[in-house]
């Protein structure tokens, strides 16, 4: 049962070397006057071996961003600006020279070569991502055939067996068709396929959303174990923030096509700075403690065609001020998190937490709920939830405008 420990990755092992850099990425759907902007000015940095979570609701642009950075986005998606740099390090040699590929400038041939061998993708629904009329072994070996010309058919087959075993599927499944496998097994095959060439980055688009919780947990455990062994970095896309908080090293929260907050998982969990992150976090009922009425976020996410002015979240934000309706807040380090001597509002370092909210521009005191101190004053590394000071934090964490209402049914049950 040692493998279970890997689900919560130890931050110490995370390499700091950058493997993927995204700068100011703009993505449109359509072209010309009908175009709508799906992703605006996205900045992300993925470190070697890190799990980066992309959280957001449907239409927030999280999948668009992920597919655009691999240039796999379908028509009518168009990349209209920005940069995606992949810093590739030759396999096997830790100290090998780093080669940088400009993905947006690459041609089909170069993309074809580097994609999958260095940057693989796991799709949301393995049901649809596996070719229904081809056997599993054919789908595992064709990628080897395309990228590893020197391998003999026997070697390819051997590798396919090895890949399946890696994700816990026995070799006799090689001759199966996808429809003969369960949903969990299909997703395992997809993961095995993504790792066939030992890529440095794996992008996972809601890989477990369609699965049952137990299967989901099993697959995530295996995935994290493999990550530890093979050292690939993961971009994990999901709408399930509570899962991401458990799984990821750092998290970028997206809303209406923009990254509104980027922070480490611990920071985001204990002290979110953006009202949307706070609201999203407050949309997942807890498995512990007293039941209280929670409000979620009023309203609904905007459509790309009619984006609100200023900060897109302002119509649903309980803290919104006049300025939010007019001006777009920059993605910057919140005033309270700035370290003296580093006044880099406009150019925060990649590891620094940032939030796109006027409440953190230093002109006024941010609301209590958005201004929880982090790191927490009492040193308790990873377990604030059970920490004795939890109650001090929680008092401030309470959303000011919503009064705590005891659950109506509780009166009769407890």
């Amino acid at each position: 049962m040692t493998q279970t420990q890997t689900l919560n990755p130890s931050k110490a092992t995370t390499g700091r070397e950058v493997v993927l850099e995204i700068r100011g990425l703009d993505v449109d759907y359509g072209f010309g006057p009908d175009a709508v902007r799906a992703v605006s000015g996205a900045d992300l940095t993925l470190h070697r071996g890190e799990v980066l979570g992309l959280a957001g609701e449907s239409g927030s642009g999280k999948s668009t961003l992920a597919y655009a950075l691999t240039r796999l986005l379908r028509a009518p998606g168009v990349i209209t600006g920005g940069e995606v740099l992949f810093h590739s390090r030759p396999q096997g040699a830790d100290a090998g020279p780093v080669e940088t590929v400009d993905i947006l400038a690459a041609d089909a041939k170069e993309l074809g070569r580097m994609r999958w061998s260095e940057l693989a993708v796991v799709f949301q629904s393995a049901m649809h991502a596996l070719n229904p009329v081809a056997r599993i072994d054919a789908q595992l070996t064709d990628v080897l055939k395309a990228h590893r010309r020197h391998m003999s058919p026997a070697e390819r087959r051997e590798r396919a067996v090895e890949l399946l075993r890696m994700v816990g599927i026995s070799a006799d499944r090689l001759r199966s068709y996808p429809h003969e496998l369960s949903g969990g097994m299909r997703q395992r095959v997809m993961i095995a396929m993504s790792l066939a060439l030992e890529p440095q980055v794996v992008i996972m688009d809601e890989p477990t959303t369609a699965l049952d919780v137990v299967t989901q947990r099993e697959i995530l455990e295996e995935l994290m174990l493999l990550r530890e062994r093979l050292g690939f970095a993961v971009v994990f896309i999901t709408h399930d923030l509570s899962l991401l908080l458990e799984l990821a090293d750092s998290i970028a929260v997206m809303y209406a096509g923009r990254i509104v907050e980027r922070a480490s998982a611990a920071e985001l969990f204990r002290a979110p700075r953006h009202p949307y992150s706070l609201g999203l976090k407050g949309s997942f009922p807890s498995l512990h403690g007293e039941r209280v009425r929670m409000e979620g976020i009023p309203g609904a996410p905007p459509s790309l065609k009619s984006m609100p002015s200023g900060c897109a979240f302002h119509p649903r934000c309980k803290f919104a001020v006049d300025r939010c309706k007019v001006d777009l807040p920059p993605l910057a380090t919140p005033a309270m998190d700035r370290i003296d001597g580093l006044p880099d509002v406009s150019a925060p370092t990649p590891t620094q937490r940032v939030s796109s909210c006027w409440l953190h521009d230093g002109q006024q005191a941010a609301p209590d709920a958005l201004a929880l101190p982090f790191p927490t004053p009492v040193h308790l590394p990873d377990q604030v939830a059970t920490a004795p000071n939890g109650d001090t934090a929680s008092g401030a964490d309470r959303v000011p405008s919503s009064t705590t209402v005891t659950h109506p049914t509780l009166g009769s049950t407890s």
Partner: protein, 324 residues
């Protein structure tokens, strides 16, 4: 895959033209069709002579178009222009009746099979598949040959007989679609609210089948025109009924095609072809409206848009591109 009919009333739709007219294919198809429908209705009245009228009983040389006979005459000195004007009515009527009857049959069989499922579905499906496999036109030939001459002149009867050989295709498609719709949650929701079976079929399922119904209707009409024209051309239709098909039959009998009398066989053949093309355009347009992804790309060489290719998302930077 399930084509869902979008509501007709659109909020803030651009332009006052209805959406379906904005498709050039539908517009062209409708215009041509309208012309021929008008021809079918008013043509016989507008014709200068009756189809049987002969300019002379002595002359047996077909005359090319002239100011007197706009489309010339045939061997027996019939005015071909008059025959052409009169000949559309039966053809269109038969095809239309055939289309209506066949569509009605296909709805009854297809929707029942899809909605009821089980044994009823099995029996109806086998019936449908058998009718699909039967060579309809051949059976029509045999049946028409066996029918008394008087009956082959009755357009309604012929339309109905043609429909009998044409309903199966629509029934099969409708069954598949009904099967898909039956499992939609809104059908279950309607049942939970307490709606009856008939009401569910008529008000929940049928409106969603309209695009398929339209396409199957048009398909059958095309088939009907072809079938009727072929039968007439083969001489299996009472030749006293003037129609484009019977005109071609007489032309064929007198070897018009190989004797250079193009005005004899050309115009009726063109009329049949044009009606067929109009209907095909309509069908094509409906397909594209229902399923916008199938719309043909209009980007020719002159287009400035990015070229989309699977697995290679285009990069068009603002400074080079045309973003407003």
């Amino acid at each position: 895959m399930s084509p869902v009919l979008r509501p007709r009333r659109r909020s803030g739709g651009s332009g006052s033209r209805p959406r379906w007219l904005r498709s050039p294919k539908v517009a062209a198809g409708s215009l041509i069709l309208l012309f021929f429908v008008l021809l079918a209705v008013f043509g016989p009245m507008a014709a200068p002579h009756s189809p049987e009228w002969q300019a002379s009983t002595l002359d047996n040389v077909p005359h090319p178009p002239s100011s007197q006979f706009w489309l010339g005459t045939d061997v027996q000195q019939h005015d071909l222009f008059s025959q052409l004007l009169a000949g559309g009515r039966d053809t269109l009527l038969i095809a239309f009746v055939g289309g209506l009857v066949a569509t009605a049959l296909s709805v009854v069989v297809g929707v029942s099979a899809g909605f009821l499922g089980g044994k009823a579905d099995e029996v109806l499906s086998i019936l449908t598949n058998i009718f699909l496999a039967l060579p309809g036109l051949l059976i029509l030939m045999v049946v028409m040959k066996m029918m008394p001459d008087g009956d082959t002149g009755n357009p309604l009867l012929i339309g109905a007989v043609i429909a009998l050989s044409a309903w199966a295709w629509g029934a099969r498609v409708l069954r598949a679609q009904t099967l898909a719709l039956r499992n939609q949650d809104y059908v279950d929701s309607a049942r939970v609210v307490g709606e009856g079976r008939v009401r569910i079929i008529l008000f929940e399922i049928l409106p969603n089948l309209l695009p398929i119904l339209a396409s199957s209707f048009i398909f059958t009409v095309i088939y009907g025109i072809g079938a009727y024209a072929s039968l007439a051309w083969l001489g299996l239709i009472n030749p006293t009924n003037a129609s484009w098909g019977t005109m071609l039959n007489t032309a064929q009998q007198f070897s018009a095609t190989t004797s250079g009398t193009w005005w004899w066989y050309g115009p009726p053949a063109l009329c049949i072809a044009f009606v067929g093309i109009a209907l095909a355009l309509l069908n094509f347009g409906i397909d594209e409206i229902v399923n916008p992804r199938m719309r043909s790309t209009r980007r020719g060489l002159r287009s400035k848009g990015p070229r989309f290719q699977l697995g290679l998302t285009p990069v068009v930077r603002a400074e080079e591109g045309t973003r407003p």
